[in-house]
Every structure is written in structure tokens, then in C-alpha cells.
Amino acid sequence: MNTRRDFLQKTGCLALAFHVPMELKSFARSPEAAGSAALEPNAFLRIAKDGTVTVWATRSEMGQGVRTSMAQAVADELGADWSRVQVQQASSAPRFGDLGITGGSQTTKTTFMAFRKVGATAREMLVEAAAARWKVPAKECVALNGQVKHEGSKRGAAFGELVEEAAKLTPPKEPTLRNIKGMGHSRRRLDGPDLVTGKAGFGTDVRLPGMLVASIERCPVFGGKVKSFDAAAALKVPGVKRVFQVTSGVAVLGEHTWAALAGRDALKVEWDEGPAAQASSAGITAQLAKRLETPGKSVRKEGKGAAGLQGAAKRLKAAYDFPFLAHATMEPMVATADVKADRCDIYAPMQAVGLWMPMLMAATGLKAEQIEVHIPLLGGGFGRRAMPDFLMDAVECSKQAGVPVKVQWSREDDMQHDFYRPATHHELEGGLDAKGNLAAWNHRFAGGSIAASLGFPWPPESTEVSGAGDLPYAIPDLEVEWAQSDVPVPLGFWRAVPASFNPFASECFFDELAHAAGKDPLAWRLELLKGEGKRKVGQESVDLGRLRRVLETVRDQSGWGTAKFRKGRGHGVAAHAYLDCDTYVAQVAEVEVKADGAIRVLRVICAVDCGYAVNPENVKAQMEGGILYGLSAALLGEITLEKGRVVQSSFKDYPVARMEHMPKVEVHIIPHADFVPPGGAGEPGLPPLAPAVGNAVFHATGKRLRSLPMTPEKVRQA
């Protein structure tokens, strides 16, 4: 369908899957380690003689706090003095192994144990060195706050003093981990000081000697190609050095960003717009609705499935709709590459280093060990930076220009050439039995497939059904059906992926049925989540107790059932078990609906069970972040298409939440007495927000909104 997809297919990256468990594969000691004055038991940790502890983070930092939490995993096992801990970013250099993918809220879940092991390895070496020095049994020594101590002889030594002896020891293969339980420590971000002084290095801040900056004119229609271009005027702009064609369009290279942008303004390109030039939002909306006239793929069936509706005493039907959405990271796409005959360095704020290495090899003609990808900070990711297009721009430009090139996208480029969250159309029908019990549920929906759009070799529905197919409630007859309907729009992973939209349909429709049955929506949820242990929901299973507990927490914290609201105000509840990353979240939103239809979210009470919270304060920040990102989608965001072009081009016509939109967010982390393996936090805060708001709007006004964004016009018309 589009050149990007062709590119993915041609370069043979398709065998790689997103959901491979991401473990630390390499424990090789760094080449500098042998005989060094520091203790480096492996590539991810160095303890220097001055006591400084340096951890190499193997996942990209895009605001989710992984550089800090990965360092915490090491430091806590080690018994480090946190004030002496610093973090570096691992590159794609072979000693760090496969950097995998930063996404799916998987970092903590998949690397926590491995990073603890990194810390435990060094701890055992330091303890052994101290024990040998003091001639005492190692098991009588403890490592705490950057020191090894021996209680009996009242001796102690700082880590730095032990480094030289410890470095001579062989790292233990299976170090013993500490017994941890409950919750970790709230640590401030290690990057904090650099972030408030302008010193922190983002992708766009990369500057290399002799570097040119490029801006690329792309066909406004997806999949369009360059017919011809006239660079004469562009080349006359002061500072413009080169103009040439690349896969994604025509690149203008300048001495600095302004020259590239000004040159691009002067560039003339004729496009062959291709078959997508007729696409429009109206057409796609009609296409999706029509698609449901024919069957899709049943992705989950319980009992009699949809047929169960026939026996229902009362039936209810509703349709829900979602628009395309752009990611709109604060830092527009950017990457820098320096491609030479025998080596290539790439400086890219990217989420999926592991995934795209084969593509980089194909594009440069170099071997993996000749390519090093360096990861600066990401000015937001949200799934957008899991895509490789922006770094391929830089690689191509540098290869062609023979100098280092930074390709800087403009805000307009970023918004109009995204990989969008799919637009979908949903039809739901529910049935109550004579006693008002929820007897049957049928959720059918149509949309494009992210997996198919990207040419990934996964079942097309695998990227589309979370939040719909995993409905956790006990309903005797249940069916969920997804109908693929390809669209001429590139689709991609957007924070929480399908769980960013499906729960609005399922959790709001559940609310509709609760009202039809005369039940309290929160109490009814709890009732239908009764039971011990896990309930199988399609391919996955949900821990009923954990899901109930987040709901009970928001019930108790929000004054559910007793809170009084003045006219135009109300509250609503929603929950989502983010099974991919093992985290459970429920939220109660309190809203005010103004006379003009504007919705203001006043307060969000959020309960999260992410198992062992490595850094509780960061978990809270992630909930705040997920809620705000979800709020922009709930109330404001919409990408539309006319003549195959994305209409929106900046924050002027693609509004995002501002200071005034931020509700008061209260986060309650569910404590555990024992050790429950940590889940994720980056995405799970988002899914319940929109349905909680939609349900609150109904509570406040009696109006049911079934399409996002919930704009004042839609409220007025409802």
C-alpha cells in the first residue's frame, strides 16, 4: 500500500516479533573490564574506585523513567549508596546484546530480574573480596549503602576500596537475589538536574563535526511518489548545500536547520499521488460501517456466543466510533546518521533498536558490528518512535551526501506523516435475562490492522483486540468479532494500542447495560468479577481479585454511592486489566458539563496494581501521563483525511490537553505484602480514562456519547 511497507518487506525484518520476551541476553564483560581499575562484572555495571556506580540502561528513555528504574533494580540488589549512582545509555554495540524494543510497557516486566542479577553479581564479588581481606565468612558480611560490613568484627569498607580485589574474582553465575517484597523506593529521576538546566541531550540536540541538516518534502498523499522536482531556487537559498531524492521524498540539505527549511520552501516538486489520492474520512467512515454488514473474525466466543442474544428478555444496541490519531510527541521526529564506507554511527531517539538492525544493515550494506546505534533521550515516544522511517531518512541522506546528516522533521511533517492510531467502528449488543442479569454480549468492530499495515507476520487481529476480546466480566453468552478493513493510511502503535480505544466501547456499553438493568455500574462490575484466582478471557487470563481490588479502591476513595454532585456534574467509573504487562487499573472521573457542552474533567481517582512498584512515585507520574494522554484523545484529538491528505498540521488544528485541562489526579498504588512480579506502567493508566469520562458525562447529563472525541458539539447534539 505504501512505500514504507514495501521497505519493511524488502529489507527482510519481518521475522522479528514485537512480543518476544525481552531479557538481557548478554552478560559479556566489556572489553575494558579485564584488568581495569573498576569492577565491571558485565557490560551493564561499573563500580569505580571512587565509589561511583554506573549502570547502563538498555531501554530507551522517553519519559517513562526507565533509566532511573533500571538503575534502581541494580542499585537495590547491590546495596549501593543511591547518591553515587549514575546511568549511561547502552548503544547497539555487541557487548550490550540485543536492545530489543522499548514498548508495550514491557521494560520493567522483562528486565527487572535480569538487572537485579547484575547488581547481585557485583554485590557477591564485593562481599567475597571483603571477606577474604578480613578472613571472615562471606555470609556474615552485608552490603548496604555503598559499604560492605562485618558486624562481628565491626569492620567495614566502602565499595570503592574493594573494587580492585573484587575485580580479580570470577563473577558468580547464579548470584542469590535479596528477598524483596512490598514496594520499592520512590527515587527522583537521575536525569532530573540535566532536564531542568537544558543540558540533557535529546535526539534533536545531536551535533557532529561537518554535519548538514536536512528537511524532506514528502508527498502529501500516502504512498505517492516523486514525479519530478526543480531544485534551482532551493539551491540559491544561502546555506543550502544539496538537494536530492530519497525514498521518502526530496531532501534539502543545509548548513543549519533554518537553511534546510528555507530551501525546502523554495523547492518545487511534482508528485504522482497514486491511488490513495481520493481517500477521505467520510469515505473511510462509510467503509468501516459497511464492513460490518458482513461477518468478520470471531476472536472470542463463550457459551452460545452472539446467538445467546436471541434468548434475552431485553436487548440493547449501540454503535461507537473512533477517529485516527497522531502521536504528536513534543519533539518532532529526528535522527542523525554518519554513514562511512566501513562504519555507520546513528544517533536516533528510537524505541526499537533491536527490531530494525537488519534494515539498517540492508540500507548501509554494512555488517551489524560495523553499525552502532546511539540512543539519546526521546522527546516523547508513545509508540511513534518504534517505527524506523525517520532514522532511515538520516541513513539515506548521509549515505548519499557522504557527510553526517541530521534529518529534522517539522511539526507539520510529524503530524501529516505519522503512523496513526486506527480509526474503528463498533457495534455492540447486549441482552438481559428476565431477572435483569447480563446474559449475552456481542461486540463487533471494524478497522485496519496495525500488524497488516506494517507488513508484520502476525495475525492481523493481534494488534487490534485488547480491551474488547479480553472483557473480564462473567457473561454466559459472549462473542467478540473483529472485521479487517484496510485503509490507505499508515497505522502504528499508539500508547496502549487497541486498549486506547476498545475499552471506551466496552466499558461505556457495560455502563449502558447497567443503567438498563437498574444496577449500580460499579457494584455490577464487582458482581460479575466474583470468584477466586484467574478467569480465562480468550487467549489470556485475568486475576479477578486484583481487578476487583482496584475497583474497590476507587469506589472507597471517590465516595462512590454517597458523593453528592451539583447540577451538570457527575462521576463515572471504568477499569481495564492490561494483561500484556500484568497491570490492573480502575479510575473514577468526576466531570462538569458546561452549558455550551464543554466537558471539564475535575478529578480522576486512579487505583493501580502493577505488582511490585519499583519506583512508586514514578508509577504515579505514569498514571498522570497516561490519563492526560488519554484525555487529549477523549476530548480533543482527531485526524481527518481529505483528498488523501491529512488535514491537520499542528497543535492549532490538532489540539492537545493544556494546563487548564489537567484534572486533579489522585493515584493509589495497591500495596502487596509479598513479592508480586512488577508489571508495566507506561500504558495502563490510559485505557480507563475515556470510558470513565464518558460514563461520568452520562451521570452528569443523561447524555450518552459514543464517539471520540467528546466535543462540545457532540454533547449539544446528544
Binding site: 522517553m62 519519559g63 517513562q64 523513567g65 529521576r189 536525569d191 532530573g192 538536574p193 532536564l195 531542568v196 538546566t197 537544558g198 543540558k199 540533557a200 541531550g201 535529546f202 534533536t204 540536540d205 551535533r207 541538516v213 544561502p238 546555506g239 543549519h256 536547520t257 533554518w258 527549511l261 528555507a262 504528536a328 510527541t329 513534543m330 519533539e331 518532532p332 533521550l377 522527546g379 516523547g380 515516544g381 508513545f382 529534522q408 517539522s410 511539526r411 512515585e617 514514578n618 507520574a621 498522570e624 501521563g625 497516561g626 490519563i627 492526560l628 494522554y629 499542528s650 497543535f651 492549532k652 492537545v656 490537553a657 493544556r658 494546563m659 487548564e660 485541562h661 489537567m662 486533579k664
Partner: protein, 163 residues
């Protein structure tokens, strides 16, 4: 192209640039001062906020030829040691997530506090309303501004409260 002598963070810097080149790119690309961020280039996100003679301005909207003798203060020059009350409050509340918008937020907040030493929430909504953050740090920004207000003018709350 012309040579401009700019006063940046208390230092005089000469740059040769096209007259329409925004101050943003002069700082970032010609002077290597990358703390001021590019978010939109059209004055609608606030990432590039800096001070001109103490007033908040969008660096992407100020052509270098229009800077004149006005004193430019960027995030790098807000304080010598990164210890401006706003910066300290930002660390205390661990405001930043990705951090990309934060230099702009901090520069905007520093000006807001000059205008309203003890801003109300409504004044914060208004004063910070054009500085976008996609990571959702607004709640912490608000808290940090209140903290910075207390730290920089501890006697103030009574007076402000009296109004």
C-alpha cells in the same frame, strides 16, 4: 547575511546569520546552545520559550534581526548552578517525564512568578496555558510553581491571601 551582536546570558556573542533566521536556530545551530527546544516553529507549543529583557518570548517567532539590544536569557542562563527556585522546585516535584517541554515550561514559569509572586491556580492556567506538554506533567508543574512561589517570596502568601 549580517553580523549581529547579541547579549545572551550575560555574554556578548557575535553571529553571522540571515536576518530572518529565528533566534531559536541561531541559538541551537549557530551557537550550539541546545537547551531551547524546537517543538513547532510556529509559536503554538512553547517549547522554545526564553526571556527577552525578562519577558517570555517564543524564540521560533523572533527573527535574529529583531532581537536588537534586548538581553536574551535561555534555560542555560536562568541560574548559574541550576538552582533557580523554579528549577529547584521542578527537581523536588520530579516534574519532568521526557523533559522535552520542560526548558520552555521553566522559563515561562519563572516569568509568571515575576508577574504573580503567588499565583492562583487560575493564573497558572492562564500563564502556562500556551506551554504544551504531551507527557502529562501539568499537575506537577502546578505544584512546583506553588512551591517555587513559597521559596522565592516566603512572606508573600499572607499578602496574597489578603486580597
Amino acid at each position: 547575511m549580517a553580523v549581529y551582536t547579541l547579549s545572551i546570558n550575560g555574554r556578548s556573542r557575535a553571529v553571522e546569520a540571515p536576518e530572518d533566521m529565528p533566534l531559536l536556530w541561531v541559538l541551537r545551530d549557530l551557537l550550539g546552545m541546545t537547551g531551547t527546544k524546537f517543538g513547532c516553529g510556529m509559536g503554538v507549543c512553547g517549547s522554545c520559550t526564553l526571556h527577552l529583557d525578562g519577558e517570555p518570548e517564543r524564540a521560533c517567532q523572533v527573527p535574529v534581526a529583531h532581537v536588537g539590544t534586548r538581553k536574551v536569557t535561555t534555560i542555560e542562563g536562568l541560574s548559574e548552578k541550576g538552582d533557580h527556585p523554579v528549577q529547584k522546585a521542578w527537581i523536588q516535584h520530579d516534574v519532568a517525564q521526557c523533559g522535552y517541554c520542560q526548558p520552555g515550561q521553566i522559563m515561562q514559569a519563572a516569568c509568571l512568578l515575576k508577574k504573580h509572586p503567588h499565583p492562583t491556580d487560575a493564573q497558572i492556567d492562564e500563564g502556562m496555558g500556551e506551554n504544551l506538554c504531551r507527557c502529562g506533567t501539568y499537575q506537577r508543574i502546578r505544584a512546583a510553581i506553588h512551591t517555587a512561589a513559597k521559596a522565592s517570596a516566603p512572606a508573600g502568601p499572607k499578602k496574597a491571601g489578603a486580597k
